[in-house]
Symmetry: D2
Subunit: 141 residues, 4 copies
């Protein structure tokens, strides 16, 4: 349920991102989901990868500043209103979303969530029978 | 090729995101891809929706601060190294990624890119025969 | 001790900041401290102003998305190590800094802090006899 | 005129900032101005220090991810409208502010600016006789 997200510091916008993906490619590690949080000078790549432990090691060896953050993955029906319903469950129980990223795909939308309170978030999602993604499934989308 | 991304200001982390999705749900507008760029107090929801013009109007009417940004969508094979190859094409031609978000799904990964230079980005992607997503396809993932 | 910081959403980088300062100038409101948290497309202006309530009203009337956040101002000796000492006091008591901004000036440095836990932060700073700035002093630097 | 700003990646919010200031304190390096650009998990400390080259070296030796960015420092009268006037000069000539931070102090306000186009920014500020701060003055506020 709780999955490991890597956060990798991108010191510039002119090639550092390419280098991250090349380090992972060389290790035959796939990126199953990612988003970038950026400012004017830098970026943070948030990524779900096929093998987080090996990816962490390879990036560290290549002198990237990298961290691990707990996130939770869910699957929603890909229809208008399905995500709103899940977010309403969480809001009503005082769970806030620090950030999330999501892509629809045919029948379903996969969503990666970083809540303010993971324990409470998991409890609400479970009680409401939201479809939680196993970490292993998220790593291998 | 060039698609419209909505960027919506979330004045707090405790329910504003839920309200955005509820406004869209009420209009029967689907979110096909999204990510949040946040700081300690606020968030910016970046979203690809099924009907950007109608979504913009509905959000404005509900007093959200909302903007439109041009992005480009591509589709990659969902294998280690496929994204690295595309990013290398762009880096080598001086195209930088301001931000991007992506999800894999079975055989392919869909990627939304905001480049520093859209025209040059489209040129490179076209020359290198990268699979560009029509805006209409991105809106209806 | 606890002061009001305004956070103003800047929908673009090409003039919106100028407009904010012009709205404040017209109202004869001074900006005593500010910093910008930005991403590729937008900015958030965080500002301490001479009259927060009137500034809030004027900005709202001019259709800016604006919010109020509690911050605390302190004054440190302007010597190497003075800020480190204050931050160590806070770290040791589990108070984290969400963000801060600071400028030195001759004998002292003024610092605006947004802690994760305001009550605890004020308690630690008071116990350690750190020089707290009255909100009224911060507004009129 | 053009000064060196250090940008230091803070991998967490619970002590990394304290460590940065302690590394600088040990080297007897002063922070004359700083602000933090943060997201939910991380921070970037942007700082003007008394000795940028030595600070860079010390931080690198202590395994911080650190970068150097060009900024420009100006001094404004500390009265309502003074900053608006400078920003209007820049907007009118197509110079945008990526980010800035500023503190007032008695008669003047010191401002650190990261423009989108440094050359053009310096030209406009010089033509309009805005009071530019020498880098050496900014380092020793």
């Amino acid at each position: 349920m709780v999955a490991k997200q890597l956060s990798i510091f991108l010191e510039n916008k002119s090639g550092r991102l390419t280098e991250v993906t090349e380090v992972l490619a060389k290790e035959n590690i796939n990126l199953s989901a990612l988003c970038i949080a950026e400012n004017a000078d830098f970026g943070i790549l948030r990524g779900i990868v096929s093998d987080p432990d090996r990816a962490y090691k390879a990036l560290k060896e290549n002198h990237f500043a990298v961290n691990v953050t707990d996130v939770v993955g869910i699957s929603c029906p890909n229809v208008a209103g399905a995500l709103a319903k899940v977010l309403r469950y969480l809001s009503d129980e005082g769970v806030f979303i620090e950030y999330m990223y999501s892509f629809a795909n045919n029948q379903t939308a996969n969503v990666v969530i970083r809540p303010n309170d993971m324990e409470n978030c998991i409890r609400v999602l479970t009680e409401k029978k939201v479809d939680l993604l196993a970490a292993s499934d998220l790593y291998k989308l």
